[in-house]
Amino acid sequence: MRPLDESETTIVFGKLFKFVGNNLKNIVGQNPSHEGPDSNPGGYCFRLQKNKVYYVSEALVKRATTIARPNLVSLGTCIGKLTHGGSVHLIVQSLNLLASNAKHKVWLKPTSEMSFLYGNHVLKSALGRITENIAPGDGVVVFSMSDVPLGLGIVAKSTQDCRKLDPNGIVVLHQADIGGYLRMEDEL
């Protein structure tokens, strides 16, 4: 387990910025954590373990140092994986963290929830609501109509273009969804 170095940090923050925008300071900054047995909560930080990026509270980090590297499996929340190519893939476990801070949101109709949960991209016909002023290439958190976060995606078209699109056009490219807990349990 080690802290992220410069390049990795920039990559991860960049990816997060796509999804949460200026709320990044909430995530990265001195967010008081209620974890840890100490009475004064520290903040959160990022750690790298076996190419996975973890978002952990500092108190946990202190105590996890006693565990040897081959035996440490996970700490706090895993938010993504670093690839060989140097980019980071955000994975579905980061959903809890991102959903509360998301800048752009997309709501799906109840009938098309399952399609997204199987890993398909979001079509225009499935869109229930969408926040304004989305630029293409932005990250977005996908919700169901009952405000249950379903997954992450990258927007293919801006909000204006979405309105003009035909019903079978892809609006959001699928990145990660909670169906992955069942489909890809081994890969998580």
Binding site: H34, E35, G36, P37, S39, V56, S57, A59, L60, R63, A64, T66, I67, A68, P70, N71, L72, V73, S74, L75, G76, T77, C78, V92, Q93, N96, E113, M114, L117, S144, S146, V148, P149, L150, I178, G179, Y181, L182, E185, D186, L188
Partner: protein
Amino acid sequence: MAATALSKKKTTKSQKAPPKKKQKNEFFSTKHTATKELSDHSDTEDEEIVQNEDSEGDIGGSDSVSELSSDGDKPFTDDFLQGSEEDEEKGSGSKSGSGSDSDSDSDEYDIEKKSRAIDEERAREEQEADEEMQLNIKEESDEFRLPTKEELEEESERPPDLPSIQRRIKEIVRVLTNFKNLKQEGAPRKDYIEQLKKDLASYYGYNDFLIGALVEMFPVVELMELIEAFEKPRPMCLRTNTLKTRRRDLADVLINRGVNLDPLSKWSKVGLVVYDSQVPIGATPEYMAGFYMLQSASSFLPVMALAPQEKDRVVDMAAAPGGKTTYIAALMKNSGIIFANEMKPQRLNSLTANLHRMGVTNTIVSNYDGKQLPKVLGLNSVDRVLLDAPCSGTGVISKDESVKTSKSLEDIQNCAHLQKQLILAAIDMVDANSKSGGYIVYSTCSMMVAENEAVIDYALKKRDVKLVPCGLDFGCPGFIRFREQRFHPSLEKTRRFYPHVHNMDGFFVAKLKKMSNKKPNVDPSDPPENTEEGTRLAENEEEGTRLAKEEVGLSQSVKENSKRERTKLTKEKQDSSDGATGNGNVESLSTASKWKKRKFPSKEDVSKAREEKRQALRAEKRKKSIWRKDEWPCLS
């Protein structure tokens, strides 16, 4: 005439009072055949009443006949109350006597006599038939005979005849419940139980060891209930994740999806039991969003007993697949810290996935053998420990039928050995002086005493802990004694759960509180162990300080040596103490004595070796200094 008389009399049969019945019996027996011995049976009594009335009617109608007949018939008048004593005497006479009376009647009434005789015959036959039936019934129900050796051999050659085996099981259970009265002559109770064991094993598919163990633990009727309960699956339960939702809301959403569910019981505020469901309950979007976890009801219990508080440090020593760990985190509201440990790497995936899915953020997952955890996390460092020990699984036969045939005595003993080591490791990790705790909860999904009460008893002997109430009042208390074993009386505070009583998997929960951080070994061998350890440590430290003081120039290397040796010795001590405590009590005595014998010479050897080394180093130093002196003249 006789027939009509019969039918007339039959209607009035019921009006006859019992006292009169008796006299009529005697009356009848003297007049007709000697059927007195059958006066016990109500059926025959009825028959006799009919016949009595018949004869009475005849007699009443034909008084002249009796007068005409011989003196022997005189007592048979209407006023038969008087003649009852005489009837008895007469009745004790043989059949032939009364028969001769009827033969001696005059020819005028021959036809009547003949018809009467025919009626008597018929009545007699009916009575005898009834008797036989009664006797037959008695024979069949009373004399359940154990199959003989030949019959058993025969049976083993044929394919098993399930209905007959089931019948035999029921019969044996019935006999055993009322053994004194219903047993077969010369058959000891043991034979019945042996036959029952074999039948149960072949009918339900158990191996001999498991059936024998269950027979030892339960009375026969309860055993049948238990085995029947194992055949059926327990209802599926789910636990609401209070980090994300509430039980009421979740229940509403799931009911909308078409799931038929109910709150679990009054002892749980987060449990729901699922009866049936139109959608797969493990694949709803709510499941994937982490709103609930599929768990069996018995898995709620150890966490409820543990009762973790906020900001606690908790260790879950065998955490996969994570149902209990996530429950702990939910109770702690994601505060504090949880160390979730799992030994098998294949199960780690499911553990981490469940933790992330349920939104648990205060957990560190590690992959260690549970026995090494105290070394990694430090002794006396956490507030609570949950040990859901790996066990033989004899309580969850309804989930996994292979347990019926795959467990043997060795398996149980291996499990028990491992559990004893793990519980000591768990106790060592807990800080007795922690403000909010000092508790260890030990639970297994097994019903064997060797894995449950015996392990807790061992822990009580080896460490300074005591049992406290679990807080689960609806379970059965644990055994204090079992066959030849006697346990500490506080073991009644542990709780056992059974499928046939609580409709849950077989389970055992015990809650221990650590009183102090000492290791007060109660065994007689151990105090010398302790003192010996203490003295050796003291000696090592003395030597270390001595060395440091004396050797200034070479003190560094010597210090390192001594330190290394000291650490080696302490490690040895730790290892040996781990080994000693790992074994059973009996074994620890012998290993302790062996260990003592072994260590004495080595300590002296070590000190000798050190002296020699010191001297060698001094000699080298002198040599070196001399050499330099020699060098100077060369250089110059």
